[in-house]
């Protein structure tokens, strides 16, 4: 009995978090990001900075969110070892500043 309750709770959780029943619009995950553990800054970094080429396709609101997400992982990168910190802070900076640049360009229009 107890086992099946736990089982259904688990099943529910799995289904809930599965992509199948998530909103098809990718903007949802784009805007809020996915929850990530501290050591997972890399997944978050890849997701944000893999979008630079499409910068022009985002709305100002979306761009602002991307900039915010950059700012959120910065403290995590600052905690890394010397080399990784140096390399990834530069990469993050380049990516963040591009979003800021595109945002400013859009807002001017």
């Amino acid at each position: 009995m107890k086992g099946s309750v736990i089982f259904s709770i688990l099943l529910g959780l799995i289904l809930f978090s599965s992509p199948v029943i998530q909103e098809p619009c990718s903007n949802v995950s784009m805007l809020y990001g996915t929850a990530y553990a501290e050591q997972d800054w890399k997944t978050e970094f890849d997701d944000i900075c893999g979008r630079t080429q499409d910068a022009m396709a985002y709305s100002p609101e979306e761009l602002r969110k991307l900039v915010e997400r950059c700012d959120k992982i910065k403290p995590l990168i600052e905690k890394l070892g010397e080399t990784e910190r140096k390399v990834y802070l530069r990469r993050l900076e380049m990516c963040r500043e591009l979003f800021v640049f595109t945002l400013e360009s859009k807002e001017k229009k």
Binding site: D46, A57, R91, L98
Partner: protein
């Protein structure tokens, strides 16, 4: 600007450039030296020869974006601050040169390591080579013999080499690059291919993005809206700013006026 007037200015500027170059006796680099970077923040201090990095070999195999965005090399010689330890940890040169990864089915020899076994010395000297009598694996003349010729710089038309598929620069490095969607889906939203205010200049946003990636140019090189500056002068470009960041030392050089100013300079 009136076309005739522009032509006259071109001639005057060219003359000024030529005489300025004569003044400082700055000799034009030989084709194999064009795009060569000497890195020596710590090598000599550590008792090793300075490092010699050649763009011609590397750019035939990889895009600018791969190294300058993904690997994170700076766009000015000596400013990245590469340390032997960084390389040994698998960053910078070591993101490729780790003795494991391969490109074109050739394993990329390992970069710096602590071990000073005599056998390693030849390996160290492949990079720490300035002033040493090192025979490179790739001979410039031999390597470039099959590539389309250009007038200046490396003497190679790199754009054509890529277009015709003679070289196929790789844009992705496992463990370093981020998987991106192909950019082809995006239209060349550019400004019209010609720059505003100066109708004779060719500049393709789309092509440059394929080579360089947006974040290499914005906002570090082209601040654009931020300062409301969209005007830059040829003098500043010659000084290594704007287009000159790349077109002085690595991409086809500024002496090739017509490649940017479509109208024939007399």
């Amino acid at each position: 600007m009136n076309r005739l007037l522009f032509g006259v200015i071109l001639v005057i500027v060219s003359a000024a450039m030529v005489s300025a170059q004569g003044g400082v006796k700055k000799k034009r680099p030989l084709p194999d030296e064009f795009g060569r970077v000497i890195i020596n923040n710590n090598s000599e201090k550590a008792g090793l020869a300075p490092v010699v990095f050649n763009h011609w070999l590397h750019r035939s195999k990889f895009t600018c974006r791969l190294c300058h965005v993904d690997v994170g090399f700076a766009m000015k010689a000596g400013t990245t601050g590469i340390k032997a330890a960084d390389n040994a940890r698998g960053f910078y040169c070591g993101s490729c040169h780790n003795g494991k990864k391969s490109a074109d089915n050739v394993q990329m020899f390992e970069a710096c390591s602590k071990t000073a076994v005599p056998a390693d010395k030849t390996r160290c000297m492949r990079c720490h080579s300035l002033g040493k009598n090192v025979t490179p694996k790739y001979d410039f003349a031999e390597f470039t013999a099959g590539l389309p010729k250009g007038r200046f710089g490396n003497g190679i038309d790199w754009e054509k080499a890529e277009e015709t598929g003679v070289i196929k620069p790789v844009d992705y490095l496992e463990g370093v690059s981020i998987k991106r969607k192909a950019i082809t889906a995006q239209k060349d939203f550019a400004l019209s291919p010609k720059l505003e205010g100066m109708p004779e200049i060719i500049f393709s946003h789309k092509k440059h993005t394929l080579w360089n990636g947006c974040e290499l140019c914005h906002p570090e090189i082209f601040v654009g809206v931020k300062k409301g500056t969209t005007k830059y002068s040829m003098v500043e470009i010659f000084d290594g700013k704007y287009c000159g960041v790349c077109h002085v030392s690595v991409a086809f050089p500024l002496t090739d006026c017509q490649r940017c100013h479509t109208k024939q300079v007399q």
